[in-house]
């Protein structure tokens, strides 16, 4: 909500450092435009935050009010009471989610980037076909492949294990495609130089490609994290103690209209972690090319 004044201040401060090709009028009008649109975008987030602190009578007020009138922590207290009575301890669900998210994100970043490097920087038999298949596979809708996917999973005995969530995440075509498009930009001279020094492909990948494509894999972490954090196990996990927390919480919420207050607390809690991860990661999306020091 208060992003507008912040942005104005920042733009004017940055004027001191960057005086190239910028007009004051341009800066001001663009900031105004940004601010207005920002309000338009951010309001569901504001709504979710406010809702979590509303007492029941305010949640049900119609028409709904954006801002909370008399904030309360009742929703959270109720939630913790319910959690305390859970058959399987909440910490177990939480562990499942943290494990799935961490393992899925890590493997998708590493496996995807590893494959992206040769596809982005070399031509070899099969490379063009593979690149084409990757782009095209993004265009085939997931609804009809869900059935064959399930059959494959069950044939491989992956159903009802963590792998059923981790492996498909690791096979994220989107991640590979993103990495590939960033790695294309890394100067060939750097790869050549590393090769001269006797580095093999794996070393080049780890020591040259990954540091220079940092902003890309950070973006990938954000996307993958957001995806996996909210996973309910996708119908692949049946054993109660293997289920992720978003499943457990959605069960609590689904218990009926009396849980509406708790539901708004749940929504906020589930959202906080991805938001924190988002902001921390996003502020690390910074220029890596400038440090390469090579002019072509």
């Amino acid at each position: 909500m208060n992003s507008l004044p912040l942005a104005i201040k920042k733009v004017y401060m940055s004027r001191k450092f960057k005086r190239r090709n910028r007009s004051m009028f341009g800066d001001a009008s663009l900031t105004l435009f940004l601010g207005l649109f920002g309000l338009f975008s951010v309001w569901p987030l504001v709504f979710i935050i406010n809702n979590a602190f509303k007492p029941l009578n305010e949640i049900f007020i119609f028409p709904p009010k954006l801002f909370v009138q008399s904030p309360t922590l009742t929703n959270f207290q109720d939630l913790f009471i319910i959690i305390g009575n859970s058959w399987i301890p909440m910490s177990r669900y939480l562990f499942n989610t943290v494990f799935l998210t961490a393992a899925g994100t890590l493997s998708s970043v590493i496996i995807g980037s590893m494959a992206a490097f040769p596809l982005a920087k070399y031509v070899f038999p099969g490379s063009k076909t593979m690149s084409k298949m990757i782009v095209y596979s993004l265009m085939f809708n997931g609804t009809v492949t869900a059935l064959p996917n399930y059959v494959i999973m069950s044939k491989l005995h992956l159903i009802d294990t963590y792998w059923a969530v981790i492996l498909p995440a690791a096979a994220s075509t989107l991640g590979l495609f993103l990495m590939q498009n960033f790695m294309v930009q890394i100067p060939d001279a750097l790869i050549e130089a590393a090769k001269m020094d006797g580095a093999n492909e794996l070393t080049i990948f780890w020591k040259v490609m990954m540091p220079l494509s940092k902003s890309a894999w950070i973006t990938l972490i954000i996307l993958s994290f957001q995806n996996l954090w909210g996973t309910t196990g996708g119908g692949f996990i049946y054993t109660e103690k293997l289920k992720p927390i978003s499943y457990a919480l959605s069960q609590i919420v689904n218990a009926g209209v009396a849980r509406t207050g708790v539901a708004s607390a749940v929504t906020l809690i589930m959202l906080i972690v991805p938001i924190v991860v988002f902001v921390i990661s996003q502020s690390n999306v910074i220029s890596t090319m400038a440090t390469s020091g090579i002019k072509e």
């Binding site: 090709n21 341009g26 920002g38 569901p44 038999p125 609804t143 930009q185 973006t219 988002f278």
Partner: protein
């Protein structure tokens, strides 16, 4: 797709698989883990679906091969599918380019802020994408009674005398879906553009200033855009798939089926046959048709994008 492959290794001479493997061993090994997963979780399911599209398959009895009948029914006998195609293409034609431009313009505008402020501003714009099904808020805005925000304001300002039934009138459904889709548009491509803008070589701007670039628009066209062509191509693919696969917001907001099929898209049609009627053969045929529409769109868009900044 790849334009800058300068590190060429082959000299055009045909070699045995063993020699190829020896020469490129490192590359193949790097690709291997992904290739296996890709084969198992993407390629095999996609090909299975395409095969299923030539069958009649209700998920209970084994599939029966029926040749092209699904495709023929789809194009000749299914009037609703033609409505769906028309809606989808029209929808994509509006939201695709606008979303794409929005992603770029907003990432470009906030790129100049310091990393911390930029992170917060990115969150602000990305908020609709991160907050799950936050688009349900639009259901509240366009609620059909006088308590919906839109109706309440229109009544208050005297534009209307009785509430508009937004989701029950053909002429309102489509524009509302367009609006919601645009509101949701700052997603994956937006984040990719932000990362891409950071990677533009800063020394190019200084050089550009010496070469006579005078304002931010020239800078944008002659330096920024050409420098981030790979991200632009990436964003285009994302935008094409997103704008042609609208279904969730249509089903949640306009209901299913929507009034006079005004919010019916190719994917809601697929949803109908896949999840409600369990005709997987027909649903797979729909998915395959959509696939070819996307591939075709992609070819055209990539051609256009190659001219940027040229």
């Amino acid at each position: 797709m790849q334009t800058s492959r300068q590190v060429k290794t082959s000299n055009g001479v045909r070699r045995s698989p063993m020699q190829v493997w020896k020469e490129h061993k490192g590359k193949y090994l790097l690709i291997l883990p992904f290739a296996i997963l890709f084969l198992v979780f993407t390629i095999i399911p996609v090909f299975t679906s395409i095969v299923i599209s030539f069958t009649s398959f209700n998920m209970l009895e084994p599939p029966v091969f029926i040749g092209l009948r699904n495709y023929i029914n789809l194009t000749v006998n299914d009037d609703v599918f033609l409505i769906a195609v028309k809606n989808t293409l029209f929808f994509a034609l509006i939201t695709g380019p606008i979303s794409y431009l929005m992603c770029f313009v907003f990432s470009w505008l906030i790129n100049e802020l310091s990393p911390k402020v930029r992170a917060v501003m990115t969150l602000v714009f990305y908020a609709p994408s991160i907050s799950g099904n936050a688009y349900m808020i639009w259901k509240l805005i366009f609620s059909s009674d006088m308590y919906g925000y839109a109706n309440a304001w229109l009544l208050k300002l005297g534009f209307i005398s009785e509430p508009i039934l937004f989701f029950d009138k053909k002429e309102y459904v489509f524009p509302i879906l367009v609006l919601v889709q645009l509101w949701l548009s700052l997603g994956v491509s937006f984040l990719a553009f932000i990362a891409g803008l950071q990677n533009v070589d800063k020394s190019l701007y200084e050089a550009g200033q010496i070469d006579g670039i005078r304002n931010r628009w020239q800078e944008l066209w002659f330096i920024t855009l050409p420098s981030m062509r790979p991200q632009l191509l990436f964003g285009a693919v994302m935008q094409i798939t997103a704008s042609l696969s609208v279904s969730q917001i249509s089903i949640e907001l306009a209901g299913f089926p929507s009034v006079e099929y005004s919010g019916h898209t190719i994917l809601t049609h697929l949803h109908d046959y896949g999840f409600i009627r369990h005709e997987m053969g027909y649903a797979s045929a729909i998915a395959t048709v959509l696939f070819f529409i996307m591939v075709f769109t992609n070819i055209i868009v990539q051609k256009v994008l190659r001219r940027v900044g040229a």
